[in-house]
Amino acid sequence: MGHDAAAPRSMAIDSGLAGKVALISGGSRGIGRSVVELFAADGVDVVFFYRDNAAAAQEVVHGVQTAGGKCQALQVDVTDAAAVAAAVDQVVESRGRIDVLVNNAGIVRDNLLGMLEDEDIRVVLDTNVGGVFNLTRAVSRHMISKRSGRIVNLSSVAAGKGGRGQSNYAASKGAIEAFTRAMAVELASRKITVNCVAPGVIETEMSQAVRDLADEQIKARILLRRYGQAQDVAHAVWFLASRFADYITGEVLHVDGGFKME
């Protein structure tokens, strides 16, 4: 059994995800893209949102479809509540339901607090927190009616470990962990689980600047002495969406090579 996300039908163990419908925000790049590819490889009918990189989104869709998977990309700004609600209704209209929601879309605008512009603070909170509220509110009402569902939110090691120049991002991810626990309580009676995956430093475009700036210092804080790959995170998301995580809710699963231990 390969470690590669693009190893579709080789999964011998049934995750229960085949035939399910998943909605993933921020699916055109980085971790989101890996989640899209892994889910599609496991037989999930995947819809993902992307903000502005249509070429990257189309590349993902094409790749998945060529491998025999189901995938659709929708350009939706998660900070626009009305647009999110309309897009979610469209997905439910066409597919009848949404079984899994992965709140992955997120951005960074790193700088020392004193150097942050109002806009740097606002846009990070609007996207990383507001976007999660918008999507979860729109999708959960359908899950409540179906009395089942899985919600997986992307947090970050930054939520638990202070990082210089990341006050806005850290605050947004701390909010997501608190939101996850609150939603786990609110939705438990409808058999909807809500969990978090908190990645450490993953080799994606988003963490490029941080890695360039303090490569050795960061690695020195990671027990496994290497950065993570997007697939490492995707596997954790997949697990929490699968039937193997039926009895897990309100949890934060750290995928950080032991970063939090240092």
Binding site: R141, I144, S145, E186, L187, S189, R190
Partner: protein, 140 residues
């Protein structure tokens, strides 16, 4: 706010479908869903069920029911400060509720009633009226 009185004929027209939606949303037997049944006290609904119920009614009847609309309408023209004090519905508030929720047996609307417990009064018929008002609003 003066509204044209809702007739029994209007309620009878929507009741079968509303009752079915309530039964589906709460997972209870259709014959338990009587017009006077309190959704919370008699049918074990929780607050999250109201969310689902309103969602299903919107879909089932093709209407829009704005969030918070039912409680807002229940308060009617009374300012919040006159409707409740320290979280308890005032005499004026109770009088308003008896008028607005005329389908609720009067003995259930008695002091002390916490403002947060107003939804406990809602019956199947309350939701019939919600649908009728939404249909009127859509037609206007």
């Amino acid at each position: 706010m003066s509204e044209q009185a809702i007739t029994q004929a209007e309620i009878d027209a929507v009741f079968p479908k509303v009752a079915q939606v309530v039964a589906d949303a709460l997972g209870c037997e259709l014959d338990e869903v009587t017009p006077k049944a309190s959704l919370i006290a008699d049918l074990d609904a929780e607050s999250i069920d109201f969310l689902d119920l309103v969602f299903r009614l919107e879909k089932g009847f093709g209407v829009k029911i704005p969030r918070g609309k039912i409680v807002e309408d229940a308060r009617g023209p009374l300012p919040e400060a006159e409707f409740e004090r320290k979280g308890v519905v005032t005499e004026a508030g109770l009088a308003r509720l008896r008028e607005f929720l005329s389908e609720v047996p009067a003995d259930r609307i008695k002091t002390p009633l916490k403002a947060g417990d107003v939804p406990r009064l809602f019956t199947t018929e309350t939701f019939c009226k919600v649908v009728i008002r939404a249909q009127r609003a859509a037609a206007a």
